[in-house]
Amino acid sequence: MIEVATAPRMVVVRPGTNPAPGLAAILTGDRHRRRRERAIAAGFRVAAAFSILVGALIILSLVEEAVSFLRAIPLGSLWSDGWFPRRGMFDLRTILAGTLIVSAIAMVVAAPLGLGAAVFLSEYASPRLRRTLKPVLETLAAVPSVVMGFFALTWISPNLVQKLMGGGSIFSMMAAGIGVGILVTPLVASIADDAMHAVPQSLREASYGLAARRRTTSLRVVVPAAVSGVVASLIVGLSRAIGETMVVAVAAGASGGSLFTLNPLGPGQTMTGAMAALATGSDQVTGDAAAFQSLFFVGLLLFGMTLVLNLVSERFVRRMRKKY
């Protein structure tokens, strides 16, 4: 038995072996060690592959129920007067219009606020101010959506929608849309700020060298140079707005169902709101097969829409990264 006192910790000398002639054996490690390495690597690989399983499970579970939903109902009920799943009326126009109205309002709020805040953070704020403001903005991003829903219902709706815009109902797509917009603003600001921050300093210096003002430099040089990232921030924001559920479920009303409506000041039903309503309260999904399965059909539509938006935004981000 040989004890190699000076050997580094990693060299394992097992009883009954002679390490001196087998330097190569030491460098490759013993069989036990190699086997352990392989097992650990395989374990990590399984963990990574699990994410593919999750993606596949999402699609499988959605598609299966969505297909049996389409088989079970007369297709004409997808085009009726409103979205009343209890009564077999699954008008897609109603919830698609609701989703579009709410997310359009959200983007009208989030695009100017988020991009303005991003330009300010990246081009106007001193480094110190930026370091303090960015975490505060991130805190706003961490406000749970159900809290924003309550705020939309109890403050935005009475103070902004009913008083300023003359809306009649306490529940309205306008209040929900503004709430979603506020929720999305920090996300847009953060991504757009990252993109503008990544624009090389030399571009700004070249612009100042031509005697351009800061306004011209930020709006005509930095923003165009970062346009891929700016567009990506808006697309990510839109995707988030479309998928936002709790603000709509609390503040947009129409929990039982809704007639087709384009009036943003009245209550309305979005895709996500319809799903939340089906799952709660008097509208419990258990029992009614078609209403239950309509959840998955709407979910599949929602998944498809956000997936397309996310893929497009990723393409823009990649273009931005390639450039600089």
């Binding site: 592959a49 991009l115 109890t154 709660t280």
Partner: protein
Amino acid sequence: MAATTTEVVRRNLRRQGVDWRGVVVEGALLLAMLISLGVLVLLLGRILAQGIGVLTDRGVSFVTSPMSSLPSRAGVWQGLVGSLMLMGFVVLTSFPVGIAAAVYLEEYAPDTAFTRFVTANVRNLAGVPSIVYGLLGLAIFVKGMSNFTGGLSVISGGLTIAILVLPIVVITASEALRAVPQSIREAGYGVGATKWEVVRSHVLPAAAPGILTGTVLSLARAFGETAPLILTGAVTGVFFTGSGSFADKLQGAYTSLPTIVYGWSRLPQEEFQRLTAAAIIVLLVVLLTVNSTAIWLRNRYERKW
């Protein structure tokens, strides 16, 4: 009269006047920033003003009472317990799996089509709306595995939330691992360590603060999540916590703090509006504690290489 180029340049360089358009632009940008932040202040102020009365009147009993249909007796205890149990599932399942996946992607994976597919898949999963995860949980855990989960139970909800935050854990852990400089790994290989030994003794300790911050932030995200829970059975109304064993409770009815907020915000009585605000205060206190712990950890242990 046509000015020569030199004249124009000279006039521009000498111009002492205020660039009014620039001032307007800067003002507008500042305004956008201030509105974004002002909303946060307004929201916190409103909620505090509405809910602080309940907390001062009821004191600790608001936090320690179970749900009730009587506003004067309703409390958030079950929600707090439910939320903590959900967090337990996240910590026990998504943290190990997510960190392991990140270690694979950053340390082990060769640049193959499989790796690129996994990475793209993780990024896209992070962008899937949370309610879609609720549908996944409804189909797989509530319906498909009801023998194990007990149907609409805290197990179903916990596993759903765990799957929801998994991509976020993978992404943040990957970023932390990527920030560890290559020289640290080479030092490990230089003394004859194997890959796993390098990862365990060098890379993971060096990346630990970043991983910790990322996982704690994802925990905060999981804590505030509501939409997937209402699909996987979190109760919005009154229920009684049975006196059964722990395993029975895991398979029984449950709720969470944000779900209570959702349930109460739908009730018409004025008292419940105040209770909702008070519950939101409890929720935000927990969230801000978790978030500032994460930021504190980052500042305390962050290393610049």
